[in-house]
Structures are given as C-alpha cells and as structure tokens.
Subunit: 289 residues, 2 copies
Amino acid sequence: MSPDLLFLGLDAGGTRCRARIRDAEGRLVGEGEAGPANARRGSRLAIEAMVTAARAALAAGRLPVDSLSRLVAGAGLAGVSQTREMEKMRAEPHPFARLELATDFATACLGAHGGGDGGIVIVGTGSAAYARIGGAEFRFGGWGFEVGDDGGGAPLGREVVRHALRAADGLAPRGPLAEEALAALGGDQDAAVEWVGRAAPSDFGRLAPLVFAHANQDPEAARLRDECAGHVTSLVLRLAACGAERVALVGGLSSAIAPHLEVSAQALLVEPAADATEGALALARNSAL
Amino acid sequence: MSPDLLFLGLDAGGTRCRARIRDAEGRLVGEGEAGPANARRGSRLAIEAMVTAARAALAAGRLPVDSLSRLVAGAGLAGVSQTREMEKMRAEPHPFARLELATDFATACLGAHGGGDGGIVIVGTGSAAYARIGGAEFRFGGWGFEVGDDGGGAPLGREVVRHALRAADGLAPRGPLAEEALAALGGDQDAAVEWVGRAAPSDFGRLAPLVFAHANQDPEAARLRDECAGHVTSLVLRLAACGAERVALVGGLSSAIAPHLEVSAQALLVEPAADATEGALALARNSAL
C-alpha cells in the first residue's frame, strides 16, 4: 500500500454528508461536511455531495483540495435499499482512488462493532434492525412511518397526539402527558388536527421526548414508553435469533429507551464503539487489503 | 301546510348525494342520486349536486323536474365540521321552498332513532361518535386516519398491513391473515411498501374484512378484531356517559364488529330505524312544523 494513500469515510445521509480522513496509521487528518447525499435525489448529486465533504475534510487537514485521487473512500448510503439503486451509484464516475459503497445500515454496524460482527437497532425518527454475522447480512423493520418504524420517535410521537386527542374527548385519562401535548399542538383538538395535517414524521418525532419526561408521573406515558420498548426488544431479539451476540442501539432515542427493554434484550446491548463515518472508514480500509 | 308541499331528504355525502321525496302523509314519491356534495369542494357545487339529485327523485316520481319550489328540503352535510362552513352553505341561494341544513352526523342520528334522542357510532372507513339528547349535541372521535378514527376500517386495515410486514420479518406469527394480506399487497415486503405509498385510507379500509374472515382461525386476526371492538366499545360508553340510552352502529363494519363489543356496550345497541336520508327528511318535516 502506498504511504501516500489516505482513507476517507463518508456517512452519506439524507440530511447531510459527513466526511472523515485518516492516514494509514489511523491518525485523524481532517473532517468535513456537505449537504444531503441521499441517492434517491440522484446518483450524480450524491457523488457531488461526497466530493464537497471530502474537499472540506482535506482543507481541514491542510491538504490540497485536489488530492482527491489520494483518497481510498468508503461510503454508507442512506436511501439505497434496492440492488438496482446501488448498481447505479457504482456506475457513477468519481475522482477518488477507490470508492467502496454500502448501505448506511452496514457502515453504522461496522462502526458500532469496530468492523466486527454484531447487530444494530436504529431508534431515531424511524426504526430498523440490521446485523452482519459471518459475512451474512440481516435486516428487519424500517418499513416507514405509516405501517412500520415501531419503536422509533415518529410513531411514538403519533401515539402522543392520538392520546392527547382521546384524552380531550374523555376517552382516556387527561394527565400531564395529554396536557403538555395538547398545549404543544396548539391548545385544543381543532388546532391539533390542523397540526397533524401539516406534520412530517420528524415533527411527530419531536413529541416523543414528552413520553419519557412524564413516564414516572403519568401511567399513560409509561404505557406508551413500554409499548415502544417492547418493539425495540422484539428487534433486538430478532437479531439475536440470527446469531448476533451483541447489539448496539443507535439514534436519538437510544439512551432513553435502553433501560426499558426486556432483560433478555438488555443483556445483549453494547455501547457503539464508533459512529457510521468510522464504519465507512473500516469499509475503505477493508477494500484496500 | 299546503297539500302541494313535498318533503325532500338529502344525504349530501363526499362520494354521492342521495335524495328521497315523500309526500305530507309520508308516502314515497321518488328517489334519486347525484355526484359528491361535500361542502369542502365549495358550497355552490354542493347545492348543485343537491339540485341534480332532487330532479332525479322528482323524475323517478313522475313529477316535473321544475317542481323544486314545492320541495321542503333537509340535508345532512358531510365535511361541515365548523360553524363558518355551515354559515357559508346557509348563505348560498337554492331553488327549494326551504332548505334546512345539519351535519351528516345529525341526520344519521335522526334517521337511526326515528327523529328521537339517541347516539350513533360510525364505523365505516373512519369512526366517530355522535349523540342528540334533549336538544344537546355531543361528538367524539373522528380525528382522521393518522391520529384518530380508531375502530374504523382504514386504521384496522393499516394494522393488517403492519402485521403482514412484521410477520414477513419474523417479528410476528405468520398465520393465514398475514399470508392473505401479503398476497393482496403484491406478494412481498417491497411490493407492500410500494402499495402503502400509493394507498388512500379507503384502500386500507378494503383490507379490514380480512380480519373478520380469519379471526376464528388466526389469533393475530382475533387480537386486531378485539382491539377494534375495544375502540368501538369506548365510543359507545362515552355516549352513554352523556346520557344516551340507545346507540346505533352505522357504517360498513357495524354488523361485523357489534358482536365483539363489551357486554355493557352491547346492551345499549339498537338497530338503526332508518338511514341518514330518512333523518334528513325528519329535519325537513321538523322545519315545516
């Protein structure tokens, strides 16, 4: 391997593209960011976002921004669930010495387990489970806000709205969770229904913390939290059934929900060793072996 | 009252407008239909649909279609939840001798209880509860597909899709309900997710009958049916708490769900005496008193 080579990890997400460069000895060279690199917006735009983030990381490391050809890159791509989309990305020209592509699930898992075997359960706005075990990949859940993503923040926030509307109707107890949710939704049912009409899944997700804030005082909040924890438990145990011996929770709700999983699932939990960008770096290094 | 006067009942729904004419003695003169008369599409269009349906009913009764001015009309309007919308409809010119307006909830309730006090729980694509007791109106639920309508066919169908996807992932038992639902959704998870992306609430609603078809053999179907029945039970008992002594279930799921309500709710159930068009006729007759 040429000593001039550098490794680039890219977390090519739907909100932003993160880049991190390390040298052959693993020392940090620099980090950078760019806008969305979601492949669904087009493979050319995704590559361009990756290049922008890589140039920023080079600049942060005080390297010429035209040293792209020195970079052995690995990227975890959001929104690439089908083989066809991945092939299209692979066919796209790029300025790197090499570009190894995987799903964002794979790089998050590689990052969480230091490149080794294991599973992750994503509990962010949505939810999904993924594991790499002995070269095989497993994936469960993640079917979207409407009919999947149970255990994620957006469906949990939707249950908060549902509970608030039911409580206002006298169909459920009107405790602190319902009161605070109704206030956040505009004060009454009509305002809440208008709010729902404008809300994206991420807006529902922003209501999820109310559940954890009130779970010790409000039995309805505790019920919603425990239902959420039940979904996450199912995903963890599903990965275990595939052979995962350790599972990391990743995403914004991880630390709030972890203590409420069933004991059998909690026993499998490990802290993520590193982030998805580090997983993408592992992908890059493995590709150069 | 002039013996020439006829009474017209209009069920001005979002899918179609139904009209029925009776004479002063209550004898059926004729029935007719027209397209949607949902006030949300504009009050002028709603009136035009009512007129078209009324002309069809006159023609069916072999009366001149220009006898609109002989008709004392009552109409139950879908999609008019706010006072402002109702006022706008009331300000609209019309060719009838008189036009009395109410919500479709009110006319369905008048029809179900022969013009007397009582409540209704609508279990169609959506769900909602309404009662008229001693001149007072009560209304609960009906907050829409996303966060309300529990007990209705569309949320029940959504649970069918959710269950099918979970079963395909090994997160739930893969029984007859999951198998038939997956087949209906295109055969696999990717097809099902595409189906969801295109589906309206009414499409989800069309999956609800699968729950009742499999509930005797598939415990997951029985669980979904019982959850649905629990929501309908809550709505019935909420009306009872307001003083409703009899409650009629109306809408497509009524007969399937009724036997599964809690005993305390079943004890309040009565068969609807007549439909919402008949309730609109009662509204017309009351206005002429």
